[in-house]
């Protein structure tokens, strides 16, 4: 069960090697989380992520999970929930893709869309149903500011996150009053493996800062969390910039 501050005792991370996912798991294990499920493609990285959390005192179990194989999601996630209540599901998987490369190879672009959007729709719905049946829990969905307004530089990734964001908002409304809390997290550019070597955008953040914002969002039962918080104001201004002008902005 979550405590008065929304801190979970059992956590399921979809995308078990995600840096934000693991940073969040570390923070929560330092508080009340005792059982952590890491779902991801079996790999040495997943095993070492599990070992790292075990070192902090958590009971960690890994589950083979592939966002690109929605047909397997139901059985896989069903097994996790059959073991006991899950207080929080963190939907943390996603790929950035390579915009220039993917524009020329539509199949690669589709892969981005399928991972970030289709995979999340499938696993998100399954987790939402399971949480609703247990009558409590938080579903935390990692969206991105990139989904807020299309940018020339990353619209394939951005459109997949826009779809995910809209899906998660609607899911949150659908689950309102069922005891299940859905939180959409919109980080700006996060310094991580995903963005290594790229030019840093303004208001960049770190996995640890995102984790801290998630912990605060759980405490306040927020529905939308921007990281850093100033992005909320910046993006609401950018949203209203006319297209001809927006195209010329160096963002």
């Amino acid at each position: 069960m979550k405590d008065a501050f929304g801190t979970p005792q059992t956590l399921l991370v979809l995308g078990g090697t995600s840096e934000i996912g693991l940073a969040t798991a570390r923070r929560l294990v330092a508080r009340r989380a005792r059982t952590v499920w890491l779902a991801g493609r079996p790999s040495p990285a997943l095993d070492s992520a599990a070992a790292g959390l075990r070192g902090l005192g958590a009971d960690v179990r890994t589950v083979p999970f592939d966002a690109l194989d929605p047909s397997g999601h139901e059985e896989l996630l069903g097994k996790v929930f059959a073991e006991g209540d899950v207080d929080m599901v963190l939907l943390a998987f996603g790929v950035l893709g390579d915009q220039a490369h993917d524009e020329a190879r539509p199949l690669a672009a589709v892969r981005v869309a399928q991972t970030n959007y289709t995979g999340a729709v499938s696993s998100g719905l399954i987790c939402a149903g399971a949480l609703q049946a247990q009558g409590h829990g938080s579903l935390v969905v990692l969206s991105s500011v990139a989904g807020e307004r299309a940018r020339r530089a990353n619209f394939i990734y951005g459109s997949s996150k826009a779809g995910l964001d809209t899906f998660a908002q609607g899911l949150g409304d659908a689950l309102h009053g069922t005891g299940v809390h859905v939180m959409v997290v919109r980080p700006g550019s996060v310094r991580s493996r995903m963005t290594a070597g790229m030019v840093e955008a303004p208001l960049a953040t770190t996995p640890d800062q995102v984790a801290r914002a998630i912990e605060k969002g759980l405490r306040r039962r927020s529905e939308t969390v921007w990281v850093p918080g100033a992005l909320r104001v910046v993006m609401s201004a950018l949203r209203h910039v006319p297209r001809p002008l927006f195209r010329r902005l160096p963002v």
């Binding site: 979550k2 501050f5 009340r32 209540d85 009558g135 409590h136 299940v180 405490r219």
Partner: protein, 474 residues
């Protein structure tokens, strides 16, 4: 003489949750439920049995996620929530069955509130044996949380005055349980996890009037306060101190003591003597539903605490106060829990034994240093501990404080206080808890192993379960 009594009027503060459905209908949906602190909501089917038979049927029928009884929802945390299962709203089981006005014994359903008992019993010259800081708790809740009041140093906890109860257990049977038995001691303080209390027989306290004769004095700091409580408590039936936890430095722990007795008839002025047993609580309008969080920050609470302290007389004797003003000042504002906004609040109540005063000082120092915006923190000297296996009181000092749940870092801070309390052999109160680290529970409650063993025997399928029980593995 025995008096048969009409059922209570349902005009009390029931909890502000969605409408309940009578037992027997299954076409309703789960609704979100929280405790009085309004934190950690979870959804459950709310079932409202109107007769003991309907309660039996509801328990027999409950699904895999079990059920828990709920009264007026005054437990601060998740004690009366059951995510994904059923919650039995007991407030329709509200008949006062018999009153023995000669010997002072009342038999009533578990859903009767202490408010209702006062309305009915005071005109007959009887008062409830123990009342907490609110009248809006049910008898069933009072038994299961084994509540205490300002008279604990004289009268002990609520269950000491229970002559017998009927308990609906997991097998669907209704048992009569009497003091001195294992099941009684597991049920009193057992947070509803041994079964559903259906009715109870209570021994009452005789009074001549419905007024209190109250002595008020100020204490300059914590040590002064403890000295005054230690030397003076035996002279009073009721005793409690309000502490200003925001005062720092030399004033750390400054307090207002308020102690009193039921006023004898001859203490009343002639006018009041004509109706000495009148009980007419007054109420202000409800707190509004939408209050922004953070209203009760440090500045506003500091000002409030300062005024509260200054307003109190340095020393005043024999002032006449009504029962609501003396015992239940917050009941005057319905839904006062809303003032903390949507983040809700946490009440932290712990007890440490005599000889562990240093732990109490340490907690007060930490709270003062951190500047927790806590208004109306309450210190009380407990008498002998009570027999319930999970009963809270221990002979010593208990401090209760409210803190807004939205305060950054509060979880870690309270965990630190838990360590101080546990190291001193103390414990926190389960009826108020919404955040305790589960590992500390066995340290704080040595009776827990027995409790778990009895529950495994009595309720092997886990029919009775609550969010509290899940969170702390009770």
């Amino acid at each position: 003489m025995s008096v048969e009594c009409a059922p209570a009027t349902p005009a009390e503060h029931t909890t502000p949750t969605a409408p309940t459905t009578p037992a027997g209908r299954d076409d309703h949906l789960p609704v979100p439920v929280t405790g009085w602190g309004r934190t950690a909501p979870s959804a459950a089917l709310l079932v409202r049995p109107r007769t003991p038979e309907e309660a039996v049927a509801a328990v027999r029928r409950c699904g895999g996620r079990g059920t828990i009884a709920r009264g007026l929802g005054r437990a601060y945390g998740d004690a009366a929530q059951n995510a994904g299962g059923a919650v039995l709203d007991m407030t329709s089981l509200d008949r006062i069955r018999t009153i023995d006005a000669e010997d002072g014994v009342v038999v009533c359903d578990a859903g009767v509130s202490l408010h209702r008992l006062m309305e009915v019993l005071l005109p007959l010259g009887w008062f409830v044996p123990v009342t907490p800081g609110t009248r809006y708790v049910t008898v069933g809740g009072a038994v299961c949380a084994d509540i205490h009041g300002k008279n604990h140093h004289v009268s002990g906890s609520f269950s000491r005055h229970v002559l017998s109860l009927t308990l609906l257990t997991a097998d669907g049977e209704v048992r009569t349980v009497t003091p001195g038995t294992e099941l009684f001691d597991a049920t009193t303080g057992g947070m509803g996890l041994t079964g559903v209390v259906l009715s109870a027989a209570l021994r009452l306290h005789p009074v001549q009037t419905s007024l209190m004769a109250v002595d008020t004095e100020r204490a300059a700091d914590l040590d002064d306060l403890m000295a005054r409580l230690t030397t003076g408590d035996d002279r009073y039936r009721y005793s409690v101190a309000w502490i200003d936890l925001l005062a720092r430095g030399a004033a750390t722990g400054r307090a207002v003591l308020s102690r009193g007795e039921h006023a004898p008839l001859d203490a009343l002025p002639a006018r009041a003597r004509r109706r000495p047993l009148e009980f007419r609580p007054r109420q202000l309008p409800s707190a509004p539903g939408l209050i922004p969080g953070g209203l009760l920050g440090r500045p506003s609470v500091s000002v409030f605490n300062e005024l509260w302290y200054r307003r109190a007389p340095r020393a005043r004797r024999g002032r006449l106060q009504s029962i609501p003003a003396f015992f239940h000042p917050l009941d005057g504002v319905p839904h006062w829990n809303r003032v903390y906004g949507r983040d809700g609040f946490v009440q932290y109540q712990f007890v440490v034994g005599h000889g562990q005063e240093e732990a109490l000082r340490e907690v007060v120092r930490r709270v003062a240093r951190r500047g927790c915006p806590s208004f109306l923190a309450v210190l009380k000297r407990f008498g002998e501990g009570d027999p319930g296996w999970l009963s809270f009181p221990l002979r010593g000092w208990t401090l209760a404080l409210d803190v807004p749940a939205g305060l950054p870092g509060l979880g870690t801070f309270l965990d630190g206080l838990d360590e101080v309390v546990a190291d001193a052999g103390g414990r926190v109160y389960l009826a108020k808890d919404s955040r305790l680290r589960p590992e500390l529970l066995t340290v704080m409650y040595p009776g827990l192993d027995r409790f778990r063993a009895l529950r495994a025997r009595l309720d092997p399928r886990g029919v009775f379960v609550s969010d509290l029980a899940r969170r702390l593995s009770l």
